[in-house]
């Protein structure tokens, strides 16, 4: 039962992550919903880039937050809650891939592309679809590039999340950069 039954999720969202985590640990669902509202975009974004399938990414996001709720007692607060959620999300997404639940999803058609997925290499070059170029990368290289390049994790953190050696992580990033450069310049 919620300990703060009268509190709205919006009000909970104004609290810090630490306060919300503490209340959620005690069973406060409003606080947990606040955490969801604050972090769902980053979790979904990561899941989408790892799985390349919006429906699967939604499933992974749901599973991530359900798993987080059940394991909140194990969250020691040594990392940010966002990082902890990302670790769970990577486990969920990779677990799905290992069970064969993921299929290669073709890159979206030109009309389906969203401007928010476009980026600019530098001021002199026209916008290019970096997001789609990343989606076309081989799995290992893509996973490392997403964690390292987009979400800013170090090689040590990314390799730990992915269950690979740091050297492998660096090699995959090198490969990803090379392939990405080729594809963007093609």
């Amino acid at each position: 039962m919620s300990l703060n039954a009268g509190m709205t999720a919006e009000a909970a969202a104004t609290d810090s992550d630490e306060q919300q985590v503490e209340r959620a640990r005690l069973g406060d669902r409003m606080a947990f919903e606040g955490l969801y509202r604050a972090h769902c975009g980053r979790v979904y974004g990561l899941c989408l880039r790892l799985t390349r399938d919006p429906a699967v990414a939604e499933d992974c996001t749901q599973e991530t937050f359900i798993s987080a709720w059940r394991n909140l007692a194990r969250f020691e607060g040594r990392s940010a809650i966002g990082t902890w959620l990302h670790r769970i999300a990577v486990n969920v997404a990779l677990g799905r891939a290992r069970r064969g639940g993921l299929e290669v999803v073709p890159a979206p058609e030109e009309d389906d592309r969203d401007d928010t997925t476009r980026a600019v290499i530098d001021d002199d070059t026209p916008p290019i679809d970096v997001e789609n170029a990343i989606a076309s990368l081989p799995e290992g290289a893509r996973h490392v590039l997403v964690l390292y390049g987009i979400y800013g994790y170090t090689h040590e953190e990314a390799s730990d999340m992915l269950g690979i050696a740091v050297g492998t992580c660096k090699a995959q990033l090198h490969r990803a950069r090379r392939l990405l450069r080729e594809r963007l310049n093609a």
């Binding site: 919903e33 769902c40 939604e58 390049g149 987009i150």
Partner: protein, 199 residues
């Protein structure tokens, strides 16, 4: 929205143009729909009930796997104390008829048991009745019981796969059950190969 970057993405000093472009991408992407209602329902769902669908299959598969390991040890032990066990005449034809035939998987032609598997199994079941007959009665009963257990797991998982052909977990369980059976048959052949035929 938490948009912090936990660490520097270009910690190795390789912020080239490609990585700069990648780093410009938004970390946050909003899902097409609000996922909270489904998550809230999931929070209410006890962990155990979420596994109901696989409970029976898991239990059979787990029992079969554990049985295989235990039987491996038992078979080896039986060989060592073979001399001390009195011979018991049995009816080989009865044993042979007890061994079920291979059941085809029900989840699509792409995953159906291939000819290699069937050849391997056919090789292993040659003289199976005679090989079983070389075992002490207690061991033999356990082997037969375990083979039946594996077949029951295969039957049950196959039935579940008919209802959910795309379920990868069930597919994996079925393959594991087939592999358990092959392992057991191989171990039986290897172990009883060293034993003299009972008289």
């Amino acid at each position: 929205m938490n948009t912090e970057r936990t660490t520097s993405g270009g910690g190795d000093g390789d912020h080239d143009a490609v990585l700069r472009a990648v780093a410009q991408l938004p970390q946050s992407i909003e899902p097409r729909r609000d996922l909270w209602p489904a998550i809230a329902r999931g929070l209410d769902q006890p962990t155990s009930t979420r596994r109901t669908r696989f409970e029976v299959s898991w239990s059979f598969a787990a029992a079969a796997a554990v049985g295989c390991v235990a039987l491996g040890a038992l078979l080896s032990y039986s060989v060592l104390r073979q001399d001390a066990t009195p011979a018991v005449p049995t009816d080989p034809s009865a044993t042979a008829s007890n061994l079920p035939t291979v059941q085809q998987a029900n989840f699509g032609s792409y995953a159906a048991l291939g000819p290699e598997y069937e050849r391997a199994r056919a090789t292993l079941v040659i003289d199976l009745a005679e090989r079983l007959d070389r075992l002490p009665p207690v061991t033999r009963l356990k082997v037969e019981k375990n083979l039946a257990e594996i077949q029951r797991a295969v039957t049950e998982i196959n039935a579940a796969l008919e209802r959910a052909p795309g379920d990868t977990l069930l597919q994996e369980l079925l393959m594991n059950a087939y592999q358990d059976e092959l392992s057991l048959l191989a171990h039986l052949n290897q172990t009883t190969g060293a034993l003299p035929a009972r008289t």
